[in-house]
Amino acid sequence: MDKVLLVARWEFMRNFKWKQEAIGYFLMLLIYAAIFAVQMWSQSSTQKTVNLAVIGQLQTELSSKFVLTSMDDNIEQQFIFEKITELSLDGVLKVTQSDNFTLYISQQSVWQQELEQALIADQKDALLRTMDISPEQLEKLQNPISMTLVNQAEEVVGSSVKILGLLAAILSAMAVFTSFGLSLTSVTQEKQHRITEQLLTCINHQQWVDGKALGLCLSSIKSLVTTCLMMAIVFTGIAVFSDGAGESMNVSVTVVIQILLFCVLGVLFWNYVFVGFAATIDDPNHSGKTGLMLLPMLPVMLVFMVMGEPNGQVAKVLSLVPLTSISFMPMRIASMSVPIWQVGLSLVFLLAGVYYVRLFATRVFRANITLFGKEPDWADIWRSMLKSSS
């Protein structure tokens, strides 16, 4: 066990480059700050007044932002743009009918949308008056009924937990993909640098695989935690600057623990798969096996398909199968009160899945880690998976 922890610590520390991470996150914060600053700047520098010449009779009363002047009705279109330059106008509005306008401009700007919205609103009011419909009646027409959803599950799991479920699914998918990259680099580098034989005189294959899977799992979860912290910082920052009160998260602690448990076990499950399969790859740049990365995408994609029906048959069954329970059970836990026996059974199956994937991954790893040159094909991998060490 000491050697497993030693390998795990080594793998974790190899990927823990705090200087690069600090620089990366500092740059990310800088980018967020720059986006925010540019947005504020853009808002503050929006045009205060708009000089607009009107051809024809404008019935609508515009805001004081628009300074209106009249223009000769008979002016020909080809001279309108000359007038815009000559009189330093922002635009010329030609009123053909009460509901038909042409706007001549020399450049695009935000005020043009504001003008259009004001004209639409005014025309809408005029139409309502003609039809003798009050604004209340219009509202009723647009929303004929009102229905409030009272979900018992929200009482049990918390009202904000749905967001957490979605977040957990996305973040665990991110952690799985991070694991893929890390394990591929870690194992193939050791193969390419011919460190394998030296290590095998110190540790056995099982210790090596366990240590790697554990260390890389920790690295992925560390990335996940730091990403969450960054997101929390950014959202807090946005809430503070946008003067929003920031809704407090109403989430049950038990639910959070259950979701995290599935996430961690799921990432560990996939790390074993990746470590085993990475041993079959000599050069990741020229290997056809990197397509394996698509496999963990499957449960993530499937979960989005059944998100609206967390208690349906598909969601129920797939939340028990180890390969898909990683995404499905957190989604169900986040959306409803899942019977405890289902959570327990899923957890037992997932633990069994981790045990067996560990076993098979080690067999594949053992058969391939010291082989160089020709990569094994899928049939070879399948055979090595079935072959026990004895």
């Binding site: 050697k3 030693l6 390998v7 080594w10 190899r14 580098q189 050791e190 390419q192 640098h193 011919r194 460190i195 034989e197 030296q198 290590l199 095998l200 005189t201 110190c202 540790i203 010291t370 160089f372």
Partner: protein, 305 residues
């Protein structure tokens, strides 16, 4: 620690890598496995350290007080593989401490030994550098340190001189002699015959998985049946064609117009041969030499081919 190998055999698919091989390695000696590429040296070493297992036969390690075991634990031995490398982007100290810890050392002990060995190899100033920043020779030194950092009782070195320049080869020889002086048993394979000849106590020459010659250099010379080499300096100019190959002379080669080298057959009576030569030529001087390990090696491989 002593080692006894009895009739081991290893087959990979269609290829018989090691065939009925037996030998012994005494405690504290330097033992060299020699042979051409594909002779089975690396396969033998890999079986000795337990990376692979013989199909048949037995490997027994004798420890102190008559205790024996058939497989070593990682703390007992050091191994430098033929195809070797270490973590290129990790600093040298961290890598050596990690390897030491994997072999059962405490962190403080591994740190201390790292400093000791890096100092003796003039690399202590570079201990915080990444391995990839070192020259190839210096990288080899770090790899050698990683194999012996835990002070093993027995060390297996597969081609320890490959890729080293003459200066670094001498340093490695000195390092191996130091290890031997400390009581470590060393088993190595190599192609550099002149280096191995002055370093090893005993040898095993292999070809096609089998032992062809085995023992000390004296035993091997006797078994190889290669006669003395005689370099004769003549007073007058001579041409090589005037000397014929006979049962007494197996090879004649010209060094220059006055110097000719004769490789004599083991049964050749040297005084009688010289008498015959003196009847026809005037000899200024002569030198005799025993066949080198290189000659024996080449002869052994040629004979098997």
């Amino acid at each position: 620690m002593q080692l006894s190998v009895n009739q081991i055999r290893k087959q990979y698919a269609e290829m018989l890598a090691v065939d009925d091989l037996s030998f012994e390695v005494k405690s504290g000696e330097i033992f060299a496995l020699l042979g051409p590429n594909g002779a089975g040296k690396s396969s033998t070493i890999r079986m000795l350290i337990g990376l692979t297992y013989p199909d048949t036969g037995e490997i027994v390690f004798s420890i102190d007080k008559g205790q024996t075991k058939t497989q070593l634990v990682s703390a007992d031995f050091g191994y430098l593989p033929e195809e070797r490398g270490l973590y290129q982007e990790t600093n040298i100290q961290d890598t050596l401490v990690y390897m030491g810890q994997l072999k059962g050392m405490t962190k403080s002990d591994a740190l201390q030994q790292t400093d000791v060995w890096l100092t003796s190899f003039d690399l202590i100033e570079r201990k915080k550098d990444q391995l990839k920043t070192l020259s190839k020779g210096n990288q080899q030194k770090v790899q050698l340190i990683s194999a012996i950092i835990h002070r093993p009782k027995i060390v297996f070195l597969d081609e320890p001189f490959s890729g080293l320049d003459p200066v670094n080869q001498e340093k490695v020889i000195a390092f191996l002699q130091l290890l031997k002086h400390q009581g470590t048993t060393i088993i190595l394979s190599a192609h550099q015959m002149s280096l191995v000849e002055k370093l090893a106590d005993r040898f095993l020459l292999m070809n096609e998985g089998k032992a062809t010659l085995y023992g000390s250099i004296k035993d091997i010379r006797e078994a190889a049946q290669l006669g003395t080499k005689l370099t004769v300096t003549f007073s007058e100019k001579v041409v090589i064609e005037s000397f014929e190959l006979t049962e007494q002379v197996v090879q004649v080669s010209s060094i220059d117009s006055h110097n000719i080298q004769f490789t004599l057959a083991p049964q050749c009576h040297v005084p009688r041969f010289l008498q015959t030569m003196l009847a026809e030529h005037q000899i200024e001087s002569l030198q005799t030499a025993q066949p080198s390990l290189h000659d024996i090696y080449i002869n052994s491989v040629k004979g098997a081919a």
